[in-house]
Symmetry: C2
Subunit: 681 residues, 2 copies
């Protein structure tokens, strides 16, 4: 009615006129204002807190008098005494509109809270998880109109929340009656809806109003490491992050050796499945303890992983992934029950979502990177590389996205490196070699100081330098090249040729000594010719994959490069480019996306619509299979060299061969190929 | 085209013109003729056999020449050599239309085969089970267009059978790849669709064409016995039926004592759940062995049971069913996985359907009786009683159906009877007492002869008479009344008063001796005063339930009575009426429906639409709760007497009391009530 009070909500700006006495929550709902409520307006959940403004609001054309809202009522007084309301706040379900008013909905009272990602590109995730909490009052049973408790719960959810069909498994059904009676037929339920058209599944039920929150796990299941983020499903906040080594490593360091293990050992796949599921349970238990969260409150889990880990997690023999045509048992996304995966550490009815795989060698982890980095929305041509034991590579822009996977092996993670270790305190993570003196200085994880700075020894301590991690070895190899200690083919020079005693003979090759801790009982940390070869293989594979996508796309340069992966966060773009890991772009066009696969998992955990989006996007991605593409081999061989402006040692040029025949079907020719690549780029 | 050959199918009469060369199967499909095919027209499943007719068909206005169909082709020849085609038969997918033709589809080639029920009312069940077989050719994997094997299976099912979404659980996914490769990408799948809109679930997959059939179990889970019917899901044929005692009996003979057990013993419900699930597994294994069917081919199970057994089967504590308002945890139908119920004896992916419950005391077994007997389609007013440990009672016609349950206790099943036993060889199942001599003659299960016929002793043998079963005790009590050995109140007379030495004093009451086998080492079989009281309580409860429904319906007589239950098949309507178990109707209006609950379960197993029908019907049934209805108590007390035209013993009239105060809150007055009832009826 024209004479009814005008209500203006900020920040949305939505406005409307409502009869005197209308609760603010009712007005908000009628206008579609994003104001939360779990208890459905009963004054007990406090989610609908609002802040009325008083005085003149010329922007909105409203003058708000002191009596624009009804007086505090008993419900608000009780709530304030019990829990405390911030000054100026009211409960939206209790405060009634008495006159024209401007009402601010603070961020924490918005249903679709927005969580700003910490990564460079300040992207927001709208909180709209598959599982949410609902408080309901259920009709008590009536003998004369007999219906089951579940059916009356469904009726209440429909009446109070407009929710259609619900389902409950037997473990929930067996809890339903005692919980309803304990809560005097007032209960909070956690409802899961994986798809808009699915019946909502009752995952958990608590007597009365449940106020201890709801959590989910985003798990990045890698070949080498398993990382989990325990996420608050209401706020989107990451409560804890934790990682462990993938214990499947004992069956084989890389994916293909695990596939081989399965082929050679009957039941070997089952053994690996049990091993990884046990590890995930241990990790889930640990992270819940760390965050002091009841594991039973973890009701969702999202997994991202490569295809072999995908199959091993699911209990599917990965043998088909080890041979052409690399057929996946299933490529689509999966919605499962946690118990299907024996995930006993979390809520027994927890739901699992696994992102779709892109192809036999391009997994759900790559899909997660695509979800996080959105190459398909990029204006310029972006190359996204997620470096792990396998590298997932995406190339695309608004017009088209291509994807492939490249078998880099675990060298970039510090494995198969003589002094290598995973990124942990004591590991050398950065290194510089003086081009004049050929002397190194370095930084180790756990200290901010460089090794030539005062106090470094105090901070690191005796024997505190334990090895070299992925980013450290990449920098070391690049620095050896920059310092002129290594030629374009990757061959280390002798002490005589380079003029530094740090170059030490080892059999027919040479080794560069970074640090000798033997006097203090610590290790001798060196870069061997074998380490160089391992890094060369890894970087050639990565580069060859990127080139293959560029060929497919018909380009010979990209506009920007995004380095993803836990490791991508620490890598120095300059060194990566010196090494020839990635195509040349201006240094300021190389950014780090952090653990993009993990972020993608988190997005799918926090927003159910993102699951539909990535399912659609994956269908549109052009898949490129590296394993059988002759051009991949060509690019691989061509990428072996490490060219650099600094003059190499011409006298060493002739002896170059590639050490690993399994990667190099074309035999030698690395340096030659390297020159070819440079001419192109 | 008007000049194309005319094809007429019988028995449907469907007709149409098709171009020369059209396969008969194609013509049938286009006309919607019910012609089966599992292999999709590849000439390997032989389900589409047809019989062409030749000569003149004046009824159809067609003259069929000898060359109306194409010549036998190689596929048919090979099939005939390998398996044999009946004379005159052709394969519908191979034979092509060449001229006008009349084609008969034999019953075994119809998709929706009809199974005639053996019961009196010759009702047909159309075969349309929730799980069916489909043969498909799946595209082989292609590296350049990577999709999972499951996704390619889905594509093939869509292309060849028009099936939408499919789902597969992890246990199936782990079998998918080897089976597809073993079958060279030709496989048969068993697809389950519980609801029309659900994704079809892949329950099983076999390489090539699977020809060993598909089976389901219809299980009637009673308080005292568990009966199973192993049913062929293609033909509807019952391959075997088997029953065992419900081992929960050790926790309590009747339902309420099991509820008490659960209340008194923490974890007692879990113990009973485990016990009954173990028994079902044992029964399933046994019935499969008996029928020589691979248990892995059992992919469907339908359960009917009373509410307490329903909850105990599901693992739900039945405590709420033991007290007003008798709230069910869930009343709706349930679709579950067999593993949810720990049914390990059958296919691990088998699906379970449980019919809806009607009310807290009126279970899925009563719903099954309603599905089988269809009171809601009856022109006249039918009273259907399913007599077990509890009696399920339905009253209704086209206009309205009412239901209740009555706690008869196990006396009708021979339990709580001094010489009682369950119906098994050696049990007296029928008895007559000569009104003049007061001497009994009887028949025992296992022999067709009466005890006074020649050769009876030879057939039964010494000690072969072991006890008296449910139908025997009912007849005995009625005969005692007819023979003037018992008065209207149920009191047995003395030897002096009745003039027969078979009446023997036992404490302050008397006992009638039916058979004394002690000389041959057998038992002494008697009817005690306690037995009479147990039967009086049971029959009063049954009658009171029926009367309560009649009151609700506003009638004092019914048009017909249907006796259901395994026991209903053996009861003598005349004796039931003498006893006052059921309201008076003409004897020819009393029929037996056999195990109607089991039949209802079989219908739900064979026809998925019947599930939707009973779900709808249950919603429309008026539920009447006996336990708290004061009128039930009134009817119960009033029904205690056993009136009969034969003169009772007037001298015994005064001492009548009812023995069990827990059932008789009104104290004495049984005989009086009995007279009141007779006046009404």
């Amino acid at each position: 009615m024209p004479n009814d009070p005008l209500v203006v909500f900020t920040p949305s700006g939505k406005r409307g006129r409502f009869p005197v006495g209308t609760p603010v929550l009712t007005a908000a709902r009628q206008l579609g204002v994003d104001l939360d409520s779990v208890c459905g307006g009963r004054g007990i959940c406090s989610k609908c807190q609002i802040t009325p403004g008083y005085g003149e609001f010329s922007k909105h054309g409203v003058t708000v008098r002191d009596n624009a809202l009804s007086e505090w009522n008993k419900v608000e007084e009780r709530y304030d005494q019990k829990r405390g309301l911030k000054p100026g706040r009211r409960l939206g379900c209790q405060a009634q509109v008495m006159g024209d008013v401007v009402i601010d909905v603070p961020p924490e009272s918005q249903v679709h809270k927005q969580v700003v990602r910490k990564a460079a590109s300040a992207r927001v995730i709208e909180m709209d998880p598959a599982t949410k909490l609902y408080f309901v009052e259920v009709d008590e049973p009536d003998m004369h109109e007999p219906t089951g408790d579940l059916e009356r719960l469904a009726r209440a959810l429909k009446r109070e929340w407009g929710i259609g069909d619900i389902r409950a498994d037997l473990t929930l059904l067996s809890r339903l009656q005692p919980v309803l009676r304990k809560g005097k037929f007032q209960v909070t339920v956690a409802l899961h809806r994986g798809h808009a058209n699915d019946a909502a599944q009752v995952l958990e039920i608590w007597p009365g109003l449940h106020e201890d929150g709801l959590y989910g796990l985003a798990i990045d299941l890698g070949s080498t490491t398993v990382a989990a983020h325990l996420t608050d499903l209401v706020t989107g906040e990451v409560k804890a992050s934790s990682g462990i080594m993938n214990p499947q490593i004992r069956f084989g360091e890389d994916l293909m050796s695990r596939v081989s293990y399965s082929m050679m050992n009957p039941g070997g796949d089952k053994e690996m499945t049990t091993t990884v599921r046990d590890a995930i349970n241990a990790l889930a238990g640990e992270i819940a303890r760390e965050a002091e969260v009841d594991p039973a409150l973890i009701v969702e889990t999202v997994f991202v992983c490569n295809p072999v880990m995908h199959h091993l997690l699911l209990g599917i023999d990965p043998v088909e992934l080890g041979q052409a045509p690399f057929a996946l048992a299933t490529s689509g996304s999966l919605g499962l029950a946690a118990r299907d995966l024996d995930l006993a550490a979390i809520n027994p009815r927890a739901q699992v979502y696994i992102l779709p795989c892109i192809a036999g060698h391009v997994g759900a982890d790559c899909a997660a990177v695509a979800l996080s980095e959105e190459p398909g929305k990029s204006e310029d041509l972006a190359l996204i590389v997620d470096v792990g034991t396998n590298a997932e590579i995406l190339l695309g822009d608004k017009t088209r996205v291509l994807a492939c996977s490249s078998p880099t092996g675990p060298a970039f993670e510090g494995a198969q490196i003589s002094s290598g270790q995973r990124a942990a305190p004591g590991a050398i993570e950065a290194i510089r070699i003086d081009p004049e003196t050929k002397e190194p200085r370095f930084r180790v994880i756990g200290s901010d100081k460089w090794s030539d700075e005062d106090g470094f020894a105090d901070e690191v301590g005796a024997g505190g330098i334990t090895g070299i991690c992925g980013s450290g070895i990449i920098e070391a190899v690049a620095e050896l090249r920059i310092a002129g200690l290594m030629d374009e083919s990757g061959l280390l020079g002798s002490a005589e040729a380079t003029g530094t005693p740090r170059m030490q003979a080892e059999g027919r090759t040479h080794t560069y000594l970074i640090h000798d801790g033997t006097d203090e009982g610590g290790p001798r940390i060196t870069v061997t010719q074998g380490d160089i070869r391992a890094i060369q293989l890894a970087k050639s594979a990565l580069y060859a994959g990127a080139r293959l996508l560029m060929d497919e796309r018909g380009v010979d340069k990209v506009d920007r490069v995004v380095l993803a992966g836990a490791f991508g966060a620490h890598i120095s773009p300059k060194h990566a480019m010196v090494l020839g890991m990635i195509p040349d772009v201006p240094l300021d066009k190389v950014t780090s996306a952090g653990n993009a696969a993990g972020t993608g998992a988190r997005i799918a955990l926090c927003n159910v619509a993102a699951r539909r989006e990535i399912e659609r996007v994956v269908g549109e991605i052009t898949k490129v299979e590296t394993a059988i593409e002759p051009k991949f081999q060509e690019h691989f061989v061509a990428a072996n060299a490490i060219p650099h402006k600094t003059a190499p040692f011409p006298e060493l040029r002739k002896v170059v061969t590639l050490p690993n025949p399994s990667f190099n079907t074309h035999g030698e020719g690395g340096a030659e190929g390297g020159r070819r690549r440079r001419r192109r780029g």
